[in-house]
């Protein structure tokens, strides 16, 4: 496993994938994100953790404009996120997202879920889209479920479909918002396995997760957030073994000894 952690290290390029500069966000009067500065290089895998309500989801949702930031800059793939609808569309095409509650489309089959965006956004012919979809469904190990509806799958299978669905758009960056926290324990590992293999392929990933095993295995950096701020940022080993701030220490002691 140590070679897994070492190998992707080399794939990180100097190219910047995501850059947030002095980014702030408010919900009405409530200051959710405070002066977020973060640069993610291509091929980097970042794990974001922190207590509930600390703004982790909000931060990664700003990256594909599911939430709008009010101050500072977010640059994704050299495109700045502004009110320009064209920029937003372009960024969303390059950024895939996996949600805590899967958000699969219940009225479409697994295959249709996967081909929808390639057909309508990338204008891919249906047959090609289906081929691509089957490829990714094989990669997440559920090609045999292609014709079922999401409601007929287990939670772990649904989440793997959701990952495949995002990958079908061939994104350059993947965002994960607590992808395993709605799953029963025995299904968590099947989803994490998929994510690990994705990391090994060199995908730029931002994962909000409390799966510390996963963080150790694949992350280049772990980011700790609290109260809307980035409190600490470090390599996984250092982060877990030698947390700097008191808040990080408290948080780690809580999640590691529950």
């Amino acid at each position: 496993m140590s070679e897994v952690a070492a190998a992707p290290q080399m794939q990180i390029s100097d190219e910047v994938a995501i850059q947030m500069i002095g980014m702030h966000k408010w919900y009405g009067e409530f200051h959710v994100l405070k002066d977020i500065n973060l640069t993610v290089n291509r091929g980097e895998r970042i794990v974001i953790c922190g207590p509930s309500g600390s703004g982790k989801s909000t931060m990664i949702r700003c990256i594909n404009r599911l939430e709008e930031h009010q101050k500072g800059k977010i640059i994704v793939d050299n495109i700045e996120l502004t009110h320009d609808v064209k920029n937003i569309a372009e960024i969303r095409r390059e950024v895939g997202m996996v949600f805590q509650h899967f958000n699969l489309f219940p009225h479409l089959t697994v295959l249709e879920n996967c081909t929808l965006a390639p057909i309508w956004v990338r204008k891919m012919p249906k047959k090609d889209a289906e081929e691509v979809a089957m490829e990714y469904l094989e990669r997440v190990k559920i090609p045999e479920q292609a014709d079922k509806y999401p409601g007929q799958l287990s939670g772990g299978q649904q989440q793997r479909v959701a990952i495949a669905r995002s990958l079908c758009m061939n994104p350059r960056i993947m965002l994960f918002d607590e992808p395993t926290s709605a799953l029963d324990p025995e299904m968590i590992s099947e989803v994490l396995d998929v994510m690990v293999s994705l990391a090994e392929s060199g995908m730029t990933m931002l994962c909000v997760t409390h799966e510390m095993g996963f963080a150790r295995k694949v992350a280049n950096r772990v980011i700790f957030m609290d109260g809307g701020e980035i409190i600490e940022e470090n390599e996984p080993e250092e982060f877990f073994n030698n947390p700097q701030s008191a808040r990080t220490q408290l948080f780690l002691s809580q999640i590691l000894h529950h």
Partner: protein
Amino acid sequence: MTDTATQPRSYEPGNHPDLPPPLLTSGPLAWVKHNLFGSPLNIALTVISLYLLYLIVPGLLNWAIFDAVINAGSREECKAIAAGACWALPAIRFDQFLYGFYPDHLHWRINLTAVLFFLALLPVLWDNAPFRKQWLIYSCIFPVIAFFLVVGGLGMEEVETTKIGGFALNVIIGVTGIVASLPLGILLALGRRSQMPIVRTLCVMFIEFIRGVPLITLLFVASTMLNYFLPPGTTFDLILRVLIMVTLFSSAYIAEVVRGGLQAIPKGQLEAADAMGLRYWQSMRLIVLPQALKISIPGIVNTFVGLFKDTTLVVIIGLTDVLGVGRASLSDSKWQGLPEEVYVFTAILFFVCCFSMARYSTYLEKKLHTGHKR
């Protein structure tokens, strides 16, 4: 006990042959026992129901069928033959009940329109239809064909629209209202949930105004007051005005029904669609509406059934729909005193149509339901 529990056991397969189920757990007898005589209350209800049926059904059958008369020249003749219903009036005036004052020699055009209508309806309702795509194109141009067939023009003899009447008029108003109000209602529902304040306010005002006013008032507005609003000299077909009012009226109801469906769709669905880069209209058409409309089917069909029956209100502004024909025929001195037959006949016409809609809605719900739930 603990001893036997830990003992390994094995059984020879095939020791349990298939047996028939115990008596009275399946089959029609079991159904009767379980559903009709399952409990004392159940037995009581069954007995009461049977008694009520015994009171009503024989009399009804006698009146409507066994003692009924269909060939007669006047009410008196009817009475002389038998004491039951006198269907002679609807039978003699059958054409009028169906077509109103539409010229006799042109009835075939209405009939042809009806046939073409069913052909246009088929691919919409039947989603495994062969060549469905091409067929749907025909469905889209059908309204134009129907218009010319009914009104004339293009070399065909023209018919004044006020001549259109009878059940044909109800169907024309009902179908046009249904077809036009569904998309309009969906747009209004989306508008009411729009982020744009102006769009939202306009939609809310429209919906609330239309819902707050009886249809009759709108029809009166259509028949009289519209002239005040329109530039002087414009003539604007009365039936067209009625069609517009009926459409607006039912679209407000549809909008509210659909809005209910939209609200039931979790926010995550739209977020997933957004995150994939779908545009607003794409996510609405591909993700949100299919799910929202599925939930709204009972409400939508309910509104349509109501709309179809409300088409009889046009009598009040002087159009002769099937009810109008019925009333006119009753004033014929030869036939005076026959309201039951005329109204029962009309009721049957409406019931057949509305009941079909209801059945289709049930079928559609069942069909769309499979596979989505565990």
